[in-house]
Amino acid sequence: MNNKQSTAPEAVNDFDQLNRDWYIDKAVQILVFLGGISAIIFIIGIFVFISKEGLGFLLGDFSFKEFFFSPNWRPTSENKVTYGILALIAGTASVTGLAMLIAIPFSLGAAIFIAEFATGKTREFLKITVELLAAIPSVVWGFIGLAMMNPLIIDLFDVPVGLNVLNAGIILGLMAAPIMTSIAEDALKAVPDRYREAAEAMGATRWQVIYKVVLPAAKNGLLGAVLLGVGRGFGETMAVLMATGHAINIPTSVFDSVRALTATIAAELGETAVGSSHYQALFTIGISLFVITFIINLVADLVVRGVKKG
């Protein structure tokens, strides 16, 4: 494969050089392969290390039923310590649910507008704006919930506390929407133009093209975008820590304060002794979060891949 026909006097040196190049090439190949598998190593590493820290709790007098179905999270109670995360699950679910109720229709609408209606400069401007909005850090969103949304909700709805499901849901919705918009827009752009042209040639209006041709063709990609948005909202920490009110509560209305799974870890881990059962319980919540987001991402990936095969 390498050049063997060199007849110059330094042919031997040349050969050494080729040998060296070959070894360097092999060494690099091994190095980049290690880089390539690093992502797998880290995912396994994350699972192994959080399991290692949480294992004591799971192997102790862990009760599956109490952990997942008791609404009493009382890690520092003096009478009876209980670790039940049902209320925290309800907190996370209510906030993520409300956020998705806001984010899904609006981000899909925005994605369709940007991909199918907007043209030229408008399109470019909207795309860049969406990208910049997606970059706003979660702690800033939390601060917005705390400093701006909180008084606004108290004023508008005449409630005593503005840090609640509504606040966190809106914040999380605004936060997840740009990401969902840009993934959904990519999915719409992946539909070949010849589909649109064929439909237009039949006399379809723009909306008919979108509704009857583009949306069905991009269905899986859009579903993937929604799932990734759900995953994002579900795992969000700082914004929900600051905007939910952080009260353990199974909400009965959007004006109830709640507490999320992620926020509980963030708020309590600093105060626990390494290796204590409280510490291990928080890691067990971490394991649950990891497993659930892993499943969401896996399903999203399978759904999106489905579109590429078809």
Partner: protein
């Protein structure tokens, strides 16, 4: 003869309606955020000054500046980049130049998606369990930066892989035909043609790293330090955590201070993103193939 029929009119009406509704939805998504950013600037700008950026907080953080937090964030970002950029570029080179299209490569891609999707607080738990406790780095800049590096690794990998794949195959084939090895081709042909694209990814990573809070809370960043960090095994303050602290943990905080901190943080992040976008557009304009 070419007069629109009733059905035509109905369909055209629907098209107009859909355009207005969808455009309205886009506006509803974007306008409140622009309003919020405007408020941030309006309330935060009076606080932000040269002194605010370059002096230490005083009076239990209710007065003074944010220098230790700003410096801490810069240190965290630099150390995180030193770890993640070489690793991320190597991974992207493997995926773009070597990896065959099989189940193993798909597994790697799935791992990358998952690494980006794992909640930041879980990354924090991992950083605590692995770097702080197992590798005995303690709560330090090193532990926090490595946690951030792993969390933001997908950003570098994805951006680099995209810019490597944008280099036309013909460039590589021409080089191979000259007898160059794979690595020589990558180093002399592929990487130089992709370097600006990689840079946009790195800048995006800077922005992500600077904004993250949860992963550094238990691994190296602290609420307050009376002195500046002296090395990577010291703890540090950080801008993102500082915003959390001044807006939730300090009683009798003047209202303007957290607005100022938020403005600096968001300014830093959006500036980085804008630079990255500008670079990408410049690159698109310049592309010769």
């Amino acid at each position: 003869m070419f007069e629109a029929t009733q059905i035509n009119r109905k369909n055209l009406g629907r098209e107009k309606l859909s355009r207005i509704v969808l455009g309205g939805m886009t506006a509803i998504l974007i306008l409140p955020v622009i309003l919020i950013l405007g408020t941030l600037i309006y309330k935060g700008a009076p606080v932000v000054s040269f002194d605010f950026l370059f002096t230490s907080p005083t009076n239990g953080m209710t007065a003074g500046g944010i220098f230790p937090a700003l410096l801490g964030t810069i240190l965290l970002v630099i150390v995180a980049l030193l770890a993640s950029v070489p690793l991320g570029v190597a991974a992207a080179i493997y995926l773009s130049e070597y990896a065959p299209d099989n189940w193993f490569t798909r597994t790697i891609n799935l791992a990358i998606i998952n690494l980006a999707g794992v909640p930041s607080i879980v990354h924090a738990l991992f950083g605590l369990g692995a770097f702080v406790i197992f590798f005995r780095f303690g709560t330090s800049i090193l532990a926090a930066s490595l946690t951030l590096a792993i969390m933001t690794l997908p950003v570098v990998i994805v951006a680099t892989r995209e810019s490597l794949q944008a280099v036309p195959m013909a460039f590589r084939e021409a080089c191979w035909n000259m007898g160059a090895t794979r690595w020589q081709t990558i180093r002399r042909i592929v990487l130089p043609n992709a370097v600006t694209g990689i840079l946009t990814g790195v800048i995006l990573e800077v922005s992500r790293t600077a904004g993250e809070t949860a992963p550094i809370m238990f691994t190296g960043a602290v609420f307050f330090l009376p002195f500046l960090p002296q090395g990577v095994f010291d703890q540090t303050m950080a801008l993102s955590l500082h915003l959390f602290v001044v807006s939730t943990q300090v009683p009798e905080m003047p209202e303007a201070v957290p607005y100022g901190v938020a403005l600096v943080l968001i300014g830093l992040v959006l500036l980085m993103n804008s630079v990255s976008i500008a670079l990408r557009m410049y690159l698109r304009g310049k592309k010769k193939w």
